[in-house]
């Protein structure tokens, strides 16, 4: 193994996982969320099947609260690469006007992400879904297998996980059951950035510092992306030099002040950072085991 460095070993492991799913599952799908991890996931998938095309479609669960730049980026990538990109929105939730501002992060995430994802998976009868989650993101994810089984109701049972040995994966499942597959399980945030730099993978500009309109609430900087973010009396958007460490629904994802306008800058800033990646995500702060609970309910 001496000739393969850390990133080369991680890349080979991910490619192996993609190929195994393509060989053993009937209807795989790649869950694409537009962020940096999805960008790496897509890049690895393309490498896995080169010189062939991706043998499965991509699925974006659109909550309608993504930054406008993210949607533009998604559509451009799909066109440039000739991807089969499916977009699903929970139409019932949309009709009821569910949103993070009016209903809070918990209801919004449940209806527009978790329920929407289940609808889309059931609609297309996907039996395996690739996700870009990494074990270093959150402590319940640190416990999850690379091949993670879901009941017909999409529930995760953390106490009944199949043991996973070497790179031999048991992909067998009963009727209605499905697998969430995490090819980036063993990657860290730093690995992802180093790989993006090494492979020149395109990512949205929101990851790089620029002067953007923001308001400060409870110490978090929220970007005013459109008129849907209601401003309190006397609250005025200020122009600050910010960027995003992770990208989610825009009122739920805080920006950080930064001067990092290049990949080298972002990587240097990451090394100096003393807070974890998802600290800017509102949905992670709904209680000590909130991520585990969301996953049990079917969240990715």
């Amino acid at each position: 193994m001496s000739r393969l460095d850390n990133l080369a070993r991680l890349e080979a492991e991910s490619i192996h996982i993609f190929r195994e799913v393509a060989a053993e599952c009937e209807r795989p799908v790649l869950l694409y969320s537009i962020g940096k991890d999805s960008a790496v996931l897509l890049h690895l998938a393309q490498k896995a099947f080169y010189p062939g095309k991706l043998p499965f479609p991509l699925l974006h669960v659109d909550t309608t609260w993504k930054f406008r730049e993210m949607i533009a980026f998604r559509d451009k990538r799909a066109a440039d690469l000739g991807l089969d990109m499916l977009v699903h929105t929970n139409q019932e939730g949309l009709a009821q006007g569910i949103g993070p501002v009016t209903h809070g992060s918990r209801v919004h995430t449940d209806v527009m992400k978790t329920q929407a994802l289940k609808q889309a998976l059931d609609l297309h009868r996907f039996d395996a879904a690739f996700g870009g989650a990494r074990r270093d993101e959150e402590r319940s994810r640190a416990k999850e297998r690379i091949f993670s089984f879901r009941s017909a109701e999409h529930r995760w049972d953390p106490k009944k996980q199949r043991p996973e040995f070497w790179d031999i994966y048991n992909t067998r499942k009963g009727p209605g059951e499905s697998i969430r597959v995490f090819p980036l399980s063993n990657w860290t945030e730093l690995d992802v950035w180093n790989y993006i730099r090494r492979e020149s993978i395109p990512i949205p500009e929101l990851y790089f510092a620029a002067v953007r309109p923001v308001v400060e609430r409870d110490g978090a900087l929220l970007m005013v992306d459109d008129e849907r973010l209601p401003l309190a009396a006397g609250e005025k958007p200020q122009m600050r030099r910010v960027r995003f460490r992770t990208l989610g629904c825009y009122p739920l994802t805080a920006a950080i002040e930064s001067d990092a306008t290049t990949l080298d800058g972002v990587i240097a800033e990451l090394g100096a950072s003393r807070v974890s990646e998802r600290s800017g995500r509102a949905i992670d702060h709904d209680g000590g085991s909130s991520m585990e609970q969301k996953k049990v309910e079917g969240y990715f």
Binding site: M1, S2, R3, L4, D5, N6, R9, E11, A12, I15, H16, R19, E20, A22, A23, K47, A48, F49, Y50, P51, G52, K53, R135, D136, R139, S140, R141, A142, K143, P158, K159, Q161, R162, P163, E164, F165, W166, D167, I168, N170, R172, K173, S185, N186, T188, L190, D264, I267, A268, L270, G271, A272, S273, R274, V275, S276, S279, G288, S289, E292
Partner: protein, 520 residues
């Protein structure tokens, strides 16, 4: 910017473009429940600057609520990611943590100490280069220590660190450390580790974890982190004969036909010939295709797509192997199984065996021997339940290519899947791939045969013995009676009865374990 190692790692990478990229070390921590595994990992992460501030804040809040360490931070809460684990205060499943220093990237699997979660420890061990085994200095080597060392060795973990912990409570006594380390080496020497290093530590205080301790001036070896950074785990995978299980057949266009897979062992060069197993054809390598361009040489661990110089029929599950040193093609395996399912082994049940990219139906016999995972001794065992290790014969419904696990981790391991429940039932290691064309049927009876003797052999022995024995009887009877007729009658009279008695006697003894030794 502060001066944590993580920052140092980055500035190194940014300023020194020529510096060698960090290598990856996968290791597990194991040992008994209260020996301080989580505290040790917590210390490693903390003292290398790999715990973000917001996680530290939450950790101290949760330590007050759930913690078992008094006023100290309870690092177990950092790793026990499931709510059930935090509530019960035990580790149930493997937790993976990631950290880095300028020299190396580390993936550490914190594995449960409780006996009932041995299978989860095996999950971590199957991909680990190294195991850190903790013992409490005052308790010394206990059965859990031996069990974990044994399973690590069985699953091919090559390097071992014995971390003798809680030295602070043992007054940092050198004699005690030397005694514990000596006891362990006496036990572990025969387990075949490539290296065993013993380090005295006090995990709670961080002594000899990342920073050296001045409380133990008598210890002149490396700290745990120094050893983890320096230990040479470069596997000899590249020195092994070439092996690659075919994962996918790639036919994107009519004029491209490639075979995708991850190289399990050895080196692949264009222009060489490989065997396509389990069949008997060979073919030349025309191209080694990757998305980054064609390669002239590819090594173990790389995921590639191979193009042959002729049209040849290859399917998923076939193995490409060095034509000069191919793997053994067989349908009969002698294996060690670690049972990981709640449902015990049932020889009447249908199992699937998955090895590499191949999945085949398998018949699994009852074990005739097992390994006592606490002493390492071979013991008589006739059934196999969760967390037990048995020596078991497996018969496949078609032939596949295997190496022994001892020789090649990538092509000598397999899993057994229960056909009814789809659960993973066992992790298996090939001890011997029997290259026999016509092998004896695997006994599935309730009273297994230990000597490997077939009924035909026992019967032939009975006839043979009777011919020799009866001739002797006739000679003796004639010498005593001087009557040929009487001597012939006595001799022939016993022929029939004693053939039957001898045969039955043989078949019974074939099932009695007393005095049976086994060569492996």
């Amino acid at each position: 910017m502060d001066d944590t190692p993580a920052v140092a790692a980055l500035s190194d990478k940014l300023s020194l473009a020529s510096v060698e990229a960090p290598t990856l070390l996968r290791f597990i921590t194991c040992g008994s429940v209260d020996d301080g595994k989580s505290t040790l990992i917590g210390r490693l992460l903390h003292d290398t600057g790999n715990i973000p501030d917001d996680q530290l804040t939450r950790l101290s809040a949760e330590s007050r609520r759930w913690g078992t360490q008094g006023d100290h931070v309870d690092y177990a809460l950092l790793l026990d990611g499931l709510s059930a684990e935090r509530e019960q205060g035990i580790t149930i499943d493997v937790a993976y943590r990631y950290f880095g220093t300028p020299r190396r990237a580390f993936i550490v699997a914190d594995t449960p100490g409780h006996r009932q979660y041995t299978r989860n420890m095996a999950t971590g061990a199957s991909t680990a280069d190294l195991a850190v085994l903790l013992v409490d200095a005052q308790k010394g080597i206990i059965t859990q220590t031996r069990r974990h060392a044994l399973i690590a060795s069985m699953l091919g973990v090559r390097h071992l660190v014995l971390a003798v912990n809680k030295m602070d409570r043992a007054d940092y006594r050198e004699a005690l450390f030397t005694e514990v380390a000596g006891d362990f080496i006496a036990f572990a020497a025969r387990l075949g580790f490539a290296s065993i290093v013993s380090i005295p530590v006090a995990a709670k205080l961080g002594e000899n974890v990342v920073h050296p301790a001045d409380t133990m001036p008598w210890y002149e070896g490396p700290t745990l982190l120094e050893h983890l950074e320096r230990v040479d785990v470069r596997e000899t995978l590249e020195a092994l004969p070439f092996r690659m299980p075919v994962q996918l057949v790639s036919r994107p266009t009519p004029d491209f036909r490639g075979y995708a897979g991850t190289i399990a062992a050895g080196v692949l060069r264009t222009g060489t010939r490989v065997s396509i197993l389990p069949g008997d054809s060979t073919a030349g390598i025309a191209r080694i295709v990757t998305a980054d361009g064609d390669l002239a040489v590819a090594v173990a661990g790389q995921a590639v797509t191979v193009v042959f110089d002729e049209d040849i029929d290859v399917s998923r599950g076939d193995m490409l192997a060095d034509a000069g040193q191919p793997a053994t093609v067989t349908d009969t395996l002698e294996t060690s199984l670690l049972w990981v399912s709640d449902t015990p082994l049932d020889p009447a049940r249908a199992y699937l065996l998955k090895a590499g990219a191949a999945t085949v139906a398998a018949r699994v016999a009852s074990p005739n021997q097992g390994i006592d995972v606490e002493t390492g001794a071979l013991v008589v065992m006739t059934s196999l339940s969760m967390n037990e290790v048995g020596r078991v014969a497996v018969r496949l419904d078609r032939k596949l290519a295997f190496d022994t696990y001892r020789r090649s981790r990538g092509t000598g391991g397999f899993i057994l899947i229960d056909r009814l429940t789809n659960d993973t039932s066992a992790i298996g290691l090939v001890e011997e791939a029997l290259a026999l064309v016509d092998t004896p049927k695997v006994a599935a009876g309730r009273w297994p045969i230990l000597t490997g003797e077939t009924a035909w052999r026992s019967l032939t022995k009975a006839f043979c013995w009777r011919a020799v024995g009866s001739l002797g009887t006739i000679v003796l009877a004639f010498a005593l009676t001087h009557n040929r007729g009487l001597a012939a009658l006595i001799g022939s009279g016993e022929v029939l009865t004693k053939i039957i008695i001898y045969f039955l006697h043989e078949r019974v003894w074939a099932r009695i374990p007393f005095g049976v030794t086994r060569s492996t």
